[in-house]
């Protein structure tokens, strides 16, 4: 399986210090993971000091470590497919390229930290063909955190999330762990599952974990 990731999910998982756990849950080796060539620029990783100022030294350091292992997508997707996604304003330009690339290959999965883009993909008529091609090959951050919780000790995951500024980094995860040290595994899972269920109910054809 080839996994395409957007900047957003890399940043969020790096912030929570859960990147390695995420790859393990997805059964993806680092060499299976691809991102866009613009990602390291968008995250300021080409300017180390700027990245440290923007994200904080620890997260910038983690991001640099992740970036060193990730492979960059090279080939452009089919222009006609990309052109079909023009002016779908709810989806970031980079995500559109990821979706268009993944749509061309049955063995490629896209993981994104941007639920709005998934909703736009599922509901904008201009995206219908691409969304249909990606049926069952879309993963959101909440699904990944749920999988991490299924394979790791809750207290450890909670401690990592709480050490980050979770609510600033991702609203949904921040809310799920909103009770802080008192956050209870059942409630956290319920909250995260609620976001996943909501996406599915609004037509997003998400990946189903075995």
């Amino acid at each position: 399986m080839r996994l395409l990731v957007d900047n957003d999910i890399v940043l969020k998982l790096a912030s929570f210090n859960l990147w390695d756990e995420a790859l393990a849950c997805l059964e993806a080796a680092p060499e299976d993971v691809r991102w866009l060539p613009t990602a390291r620029f968008a995250l300021d990783l080409h300017r180390g000091e700027a990245a440290a100022r923007r994200w904080g030294a620890t997260i910038a350091w983690r991001l640099a470590g992740i970036a060193a292992t990730l492979r960059v997508l090279e080939e452009a997707p089919n222009d006609a497919v990309v052109a079909g996604l023009i002016n779908v304003v709810g989806i970031d330009v980079g995500e559109r390229l990821l979706f268009a690339t993944a749509a061309a290959s049955d063995s490629t999965v896209v993981a994104t930290g941007d639920k709005q883009s998934l909703l736009a993909l599922a509901n904008d008529p201009r995206c219908a063909a691409v969304h249909e091609r990606l049926r069952g090959r879309l993963i959101c951050l909440e699904q990944i955190v749920l999988q991490i919780l299924a394979h790791n000790a809750f207290a450890d995951v909670r401690a990592r999330v709480l050490q980050s500024r979770a609510l600033e980094i991702d609203r949904a995860v921040g809310i799920a762990f909103g009770a802080g040290e008192q956050a209870d595994e059942r409630e956290v899972r319920k909250a995260l599952l609620g976001y996943v269920t909501e996406l599915r109910s609004k037509g997003v054809e998400l990946y189903t974990f075995p």
């Binding site: 866009l36 452009a76 997707p77 990309v82 304003v89 330009v93 980079g94 883009s117």
Partner: protein
């Protein structure tokens, strides 16, 4: 000897310059702050550059992807062009394409606004006046538009090399929007343009997914019926009577006298004094010779005015930025001149 490496987007920038879009504009406004040309060395990085340009400037993606093709704005068949002098549609096509893209972004960020209302000029005037003791001023009308589900934006940062419009009335996915572009800080100027564009929307001159591009909004200049009707609508909204012409005695006043007289007249008739000064200047000299005098009076009436900033502040506060991807929000902010 060191040789400078050629940017992978150099040829694209050259093609954009041929469309009168300067490279500095592409770098300062169109491309995200983090952009580095090195990102475009790979095919998919180049595709991302083309996609950004296509979406920000409204340039046809296929023409961007074909290095041999002449760049062309996207389909503008839904835009009605109201041009002045010897301006041709080709000369404003890129401006119009950029504005349409901005409207599309604003429509998405404006989906949490109330459903748009349609009202006559008299009703709008009554509603604005019910909220204030004085007259229909720019702030009041701006507020009314947003409350009525009509976003208003000022495009402060368009390429200086392009011919621009005073205003544009647009409908995207059923949402009416007004784009102002005149680089004029005095609210009285923007007030008339806003009322005029609102007239186009309320009078049904703009169908869904269409736009009306007003290169110049001026009362009384010989125009087509839609322009005349929009002017009448604006005068009725601002003055209570679509035929209002402010006349003066046989001699032109000095600017301080005009300001004082406009204030008195405005208070008496519940008309924005700035509009009174402009209305007088136009009525006395339709060819615009008195506008410098009116402008001097406007500066006395409202010395610290910054109408584009008023529009900008309202848009920043009212649009739902979480509805847009971060790069799209940042672009919209840059075009509006938000520092």
């Amino acid at each position: 000897m060191r040789t400078a490496r050629k940017s992978p987007i150099a040829a694209d920038l050259k093609r954009l310059r041929a469309l009168r879009v300067p490279t500095a504009y592409v770098r300062d406004v169109v491309l995200p702050e983090w952009w580095d040309d090195a990102a475009a060395t790979s095919p998919i990085g180049k595709a991302e550059f083309h996609l950004i340009v296509a979406e920000c400037l409204g340039i046809d993606f296929a023409s961007l992807r074909d290095p041999q093709a002449d760049l062309a704005p996207t389909d503008l068949s839904g835009v009605k062009f109201k041009l002045t002098g010897n301006t041709t549609q080709d000369q404003v096509a890129v401006t119009s394409a950029i504005a349409m893209q901005i409207a599309r972004h604003a429509e998405v960020a404006g989906r949490s606004l109330p459903e748009a209302r349609e009202e006559g000029a008299a009703t709008i005037r009554d509603e604005v006046l019910s909220e204030r003791d004085s007259w229909v001023d720019f702030d009041g009308l701006l507020d009314w538009c947003w409350n009525a589900g009509i976003p208003v934006l000022h495009l402060s940062k368009l390429p200086k090399t392009l011919r621009k419009m005073h205003g544009m009335a647009v409908k995207v996915a059923g949402r009416p929007l007004i784009l102002l572009c005149k680089n004029q800080r005095q609210p009285a100027w923007q007030l008339f343009i806003l009322a005029h564009e609102l007239g186009h929307l309320m009078l049904g001159h703009v169908a869904d997914d269409e736009a009306l591009f007003d290169q110049e909004v001026r009362d009384g200049v010989a125009q087509d019926q839609e322009e005349l009707d929009a002017n009448t609508f604006a005068l009725e909204l601002l003055c209570g009577d679509g035929d209002t012409r402010v006349q003066a005695a046989d001699r032109w006043p000095k600017a301080p006298q005009l300001a004082e007289a406009a204030l008195r007249y405005g208070q008496r008739h519940r008309i924005d004094p700035g509009h009174v000064a402009l209305n007088f200047a136009f009525s006395a000299s339709p060819d615009g010779k008195l506008y410098p005098l009116a402008n001097a009076a406007l500066k006395i009436l409202d010395p610290g005015a910054d109408a584009p900033a008023q529009v900008r502040d309202a848009a920043v506060a009212r649009l739902d930025w979480s509805a847009l991807p971060a790069n799209a929000s940042a672009y919209l902010m840059r075009v509006m001149g938000v520092e």
